[in-house]
Symmetry: C2
Subunit: 696 residues, 2 copies
């Protein structure tokens, strides 16, 4: 068992961390000093004594991961990144929460070196940490499954600091239940039970027995109570021992309930809601400095011995890294094919020839896009080992199961229907959409695999905060959202998306992809996997829809365009059959067939309609102006969008002269054909809208 070396310089470094946090908030005049002050010993312990990290290489595969789920206490992390030499300097701390600084209000992934994940919205960090731990196991399974536990270069720990708020949010209940179920021995959570939130003493709203609750999830739970003697004693050794015990428990995730006093040792504001989210004020801050033996006249004071000691992390990191490199090199030599796979994954490239693996769906048949998607996933699964995923208890409905694959659960969790394998690739989230979103984020943040999670489109609402934070981080989480309109039918309005397509498109950086037939599904998946710059959701039908007969290139004459054009976001599926483009239909998903039918009907009346398939508005907006103009010539102002949901997304495209065939109210329970008729999602409505738009 590891021995903790701790002396007066360490203690002073911890106090320095407190002072820096309080000074930084004081300087900018706002922020969250309290937790950063009282968590300084725990954070210092992790960064300086526990975690294996190389401050100079934030991408080192073998590093322990650190997640500050209590993102409001960003200084807890920034101060350690400064002390440990991760690239932050005192000037960065002084620039806290100001425009362009590396120290924004909450830690931002991709913005500050050493930050593994953007946190702040409570619960997201802790829930995503479960995804980090999933990914560590799945990657180990890809690269080094035979190594004994703890002896692979792919083995490491995931450490989390969580707050009362994290524990209260429902998303962590979902994710924590899964973590216990998955027996994630590589996950160690320090829960800062300071019992103070913005409304002061959490007893006003939060009196459950957290330790018992986590035991019920099958976690390993320890309590470290720094208040237990009546005095407040930051017993670092006790916390260190608990962390070591947590690491030693390899069959369960660990929760360490750390009982702290927020804002300690602030003379009058410790243990109050006031110190959670406001600057201390000059007198109080001076008081803290006096208590800790710092000069109240000085700010941002760091002694040489402290910084010298803490920057030792760089050298230690190099040494750890060098030692790890040996084991990695030995692995690489022994596993040349796996090394090749890892190298490919790290470049972000798909395997060569992946396009050849895509299924081709026969024209003039009918198939739901969800079923087509299931076939595509199974086909891709054979050639893309980094692809894994599953569903929030809707596998059969979402068609998210890669054929022949085992389930990513311990073998002991096997059921009659599913075979468990700790390195399996079928994910079972249970009925926990929000945790699913956060876990997907954790997986793709942890490493280069590609993970997807499915539910009904309506339940994208349940996972929306996780989707948004993926978009903010610009990470490539993938969502499979089936039953994508009122055409899901009899389940009725509680299950029928109306505003979801529009409101998801409203999230910046999120690509919403709604393929219009089975062959569009193939190329939609290919394009989604090619991209790594942000999350994507694929919206799929429950009902069967036609597979269009297509040519190999662009639309021309009576020949429909190839589905390869999906990658451009929107393309001319069918040219006007009359020689002139009088009106343009823009349609997605199951409504594309309505546009195609309306085009034929109008042609009989001598009206020339072009049909533009729009699988993704976001991808289309990335195309150059010339291409966009070629698809939607500005001279053609008669335009009709057709989508079984709000017109909201389409108004800027169809313009004042345009019309939208849409649904602007909640759905109803009936078979889908009745609903489409009652709600005006028909060829007749499309034809009428076209004529209205043309001023006929």
């Amino acid at each position: 068992m590891a021995v903790l070396e701790w002396d007066g310089v360490d203690a002073k470094a911890v106090d320095t961390a407190r002072i820096l946090a309080a000074d930084a908030v004081e300087k900018v005049g706002n922020g969250h000093p309290g937790t950063a002050m009282s968590l300084a010993p725990a954070a210092y312990l992790l960064f300086q004594k526990v975690m294996r990290r190389d401050p100079r290489d934030q991408d080192w595969l073998g590093r322990d991961r650190f997640i500050l789920s209590a993102g409001h206490s960003s200084l807890t992390q920034y101060v350690q990144l400064y002390l440990g030499g991760y690239g932050l300097e005192l000037d960065d701390l002084k620039a806290l929460r100001t425009w362009g600084s590396k120290t924004p209000g909450h830690p931002e992934y991709g913005h500050t070196d050493g930050v593994e994940i953007t946190t702040g919205p409570l619960g997201q960090g802790l829930a995503s940490s479960v995804g980090f731990a999933y990914a560590a196991r799945y990657e180990r399974g890809l690269f080094d499954p035979e190594a004994p536990q703890g002896e692979s270069p792919f083995d490491h720990f995931v450490y989390v600091i969580a707050s009362d708020g994290d524990i209260e949010e429902g998303i962590t209940s979902e994710a924590s239940s899964l973590a216990g179920h998955q027996q994630l021995g590589n996950l160690v959570v320090i829960y800062d039970a300071n019992q103070i939130s913005i409304e002061d003493d959490t007893d006003v709203a939060f009196t459950e027995d957290v330790a018992a609750r986590y035991e019920a999830y099958h976690w390993h739970v320890q309590t470290v109570d720094w208040k237990k003697t009546g005095d407040y004693v930051e017993d670092v050794q006790e916390l260190f021992d608990a962390i070591e015990a947590a690491k030693a428990e390899t069959t369960k995730p660990s929760l360490i309930v750390l009982k702290t006093i927020i804002g300690w040792p602030s003379p009058t504001k410790q243990n109050t809601g006031k110190i959670h989210g406001s600057a201390l004020g000059g007198d109080e801050l001076a008081g803290v400095k006096k208590v800790l033996g710092f000069d109240p006249e000085k700010t941002f004071e760091v002694s040489d011995e402290v910084i010298e000691r803490t920057r030792g992390a760089v050298e230690r990191g190099e040494a750890d890294r060098a030692e790890w490199q040996k084991s990695f090199d030995a692995w690489a030599e022994a596993n040349p094919e796996r090394k090749q796979l890892l190298d490919r994954l790290l470049t972000g490239e798909l395997p060569e020839g992946v396009e050849d693996a895509l299924p081709v769906f026969e024209a003039n048949t009918v198939v739901s896009t969800r079923k087509a998607s299931g076939k595509v996933l199974s086909a891709l699964g054979e050639v893309v080992p980094e692809l894994w995923g599953g569903s929030a208890d809707l596998a059969e409905s979402n068609n998210t199961t890669i054929e022949g694959a085992t389930s990513f659960i311990p073998a002991s969790r096997s059921t009659e229907m599913w075979t468990g394998d700790p390195y399996g690739r079928v994910l079972h989230f249970g009925i926990r959409e929000h945790a699913m979103g956060a876990i997907l984020n954790g997986i793709v943040l942890h490493g280069p695999t590609r993970a997807f999670g499915g539910t009904f489109l309506i339940f994208s609402d349940y996972m929306r905060p996780a989707v948004r934070i993926a978009a903010l981080m610009q990470i490539p989480s993938i969502y499979v959202w089936t039953h994508d309109s009122v055409a899901l039918g009899e389940d009725g309005p509680t299950h029928q998306p109306i505003e979801q397509l529009s409101t998801l498109r409203a999230i910046p950086n999120l690509a919403v992809v709604r393929p219009g037939d089975a062959n569009e599904v193939s190329y939609a998946w290919l394009e989604i996997l090619k991209r790594r710059g942000g999350p994507a959701g694929i919206a799929l039908t429950r009902q069967d829809i036609p597979v269009f007969e297509r040519g190999d290139g662009d639309a021309s004459g009576d020949t429909f365009a190839s589905a390869k054009n999906v990658a451009k976001g929107a393309y001319v599926l069918a040219e006007s059959p009359t020689g002139t483009t009088d009106v343009i239909f823009l349609a997605t998903g199951s409504e594309l067939q309505i546009a195609v039918d309306a085009r034929s009907t109008l042609a009989e009346e001598g009206i020339g309609a072009r049909v533009v398939s729009v699988p993704s508005l976001e991808w289309f907006e990335e195309q150059d102006e010339a291409y966009r103009e070629s698809v939607l010539p500005s001279s053609v102002t008669a335009r009709v969008s057709i989508e079984a949901g709000l017109a909201l997304s389409w108004r800027h495209i169809v313009g004042d002269a345009g019309r939208s065939v849409s649904i602007e109210h909640f759905g109803a329970s009936a078979d889908y054909k009745t609903l489409f008729k009652k709600f005006g999602m028909t060829t007749e409505a499309a034809v009428a809208a076209a004529k209205e738009s043309l001023g006929h």
Copy 2:
């Protein structure tokens, strides 16, 4: 203790319920028969032997409430509503899941008599049941606080049937923690632990110890295991006894873990995922009928003795009702003022003179709209006793505390800052936005009080499914969403709403209200309280903004319009100062001042700009055509919307010639003035947009 009377006719009635459920699904060809079959004894027990309800009066104040959180098993409820004589007949069951029927896929509030709440999205029902129990206590506090427990006409129980999926969803974790905290002795939850969901055996994703978890929340937990002997024995007496014990435990909510076999006694499909969500098929259904002694050739078979027995519920309900009426009348006589209050609440009217209570904010000062809102709530609180609410741990930030009020928690839960009172009116949700939304729904469904809950606007995403279902039910839940733009400043992009205003407006039936100064806040609240036809969210600034100097009526000359116009959703705040209306600014919230400034700047250049304040697009759309045309004359196509968020909501109003001053990307961490400048939320940008729109 009550004695259960149960004979062969009851047993046959239960079997009839099973058969009716299976027949109904078979007829339409889709639906969820399995749970309705195995839950038939529990549902029958509740409806026929436990609950105090009057099938002929679904609005009886004293009724026990029933919530089918497992909404997909709607037949569990429909069959009992038929058997008990609540208005459904066999033809309704035969019309299951078809257009216009009273028996849609999931139970819909306001659509089918006897349905207390729309359920289906998992977790919502159970979480809202906590709100029902809150409301029962608060209403008791308003009308009959002195009565000993169990002796008031306002005392009754809330019964819930929940499924595995309900227990897995995070929202129920949040709500259940609150229920234990609140010691809700009037809440009884039967958890149908059948261990089968769509992915078959729930062991694949759900192995936590639910009983221990609920004990950790301080619930009273019992287990009734009908599988415990190895055979499956539906021991109704055991369940009845557990319900009686749950009722007897008045200081804790109760969870009864009922271990059932889904789809029992289906010969080959019981205990499988297949029977969860699909019709049994002819042979299997015939097999069930044979096992139960029914004629496999017949469908929807109900014997006379069964229907005679079950319709006895009507008579029993009348008798219970009559007995209750005595105690109610005695209460009314003894409490004339309280009776008057109840009468007023039941009409849905506000007290007379409530407008006089509204605070008036002095012109030419500055105040944030959240602070103004806090003052309005405290002022209204004095005259509107049915108004109560609080925050998800952001009371001070959301300004949601009615001054001088006690907190709605048991006295034993008091903290230094808050005084607990079981009948208090300040709600503390903890950091649980989703449960807050569901609890608010439960409160307003239960009775005529008006409840509000606050969080940051960004966290409306966390509560969105609860908001949507309120909109679907058209019930008047109220949300206080502060920190309503990037102008919240330093907390950065994780906390800054960008797409939220637009995406909330996209929810049908939800009113989003964003007042443009403090006096608009007063009238916004008044209008919100006047309305009961759907939920409303009020979006409020963190930062101080100017209070405009206004006249008493419409805008005229240089005089700004009265804030009373807020009720119309949009109104002319300031007429063009040049005599001609060249361009129209539409603005909301903190951006209204930008429009006002831009109007002045343009006037100097001889351009006449009208400023339209748009506190609520939804309210504006309800106005007649003439009024809307008077505010936004179609002849004026030069229009500029100004809102610190997406332009999405505004495109249909500003049109092709219009422009939007908006923010189309995520925010950043800095002070708000810097952000507004960097993101182009400025007078200069508004002026430039106006000129562009004018084609200058």
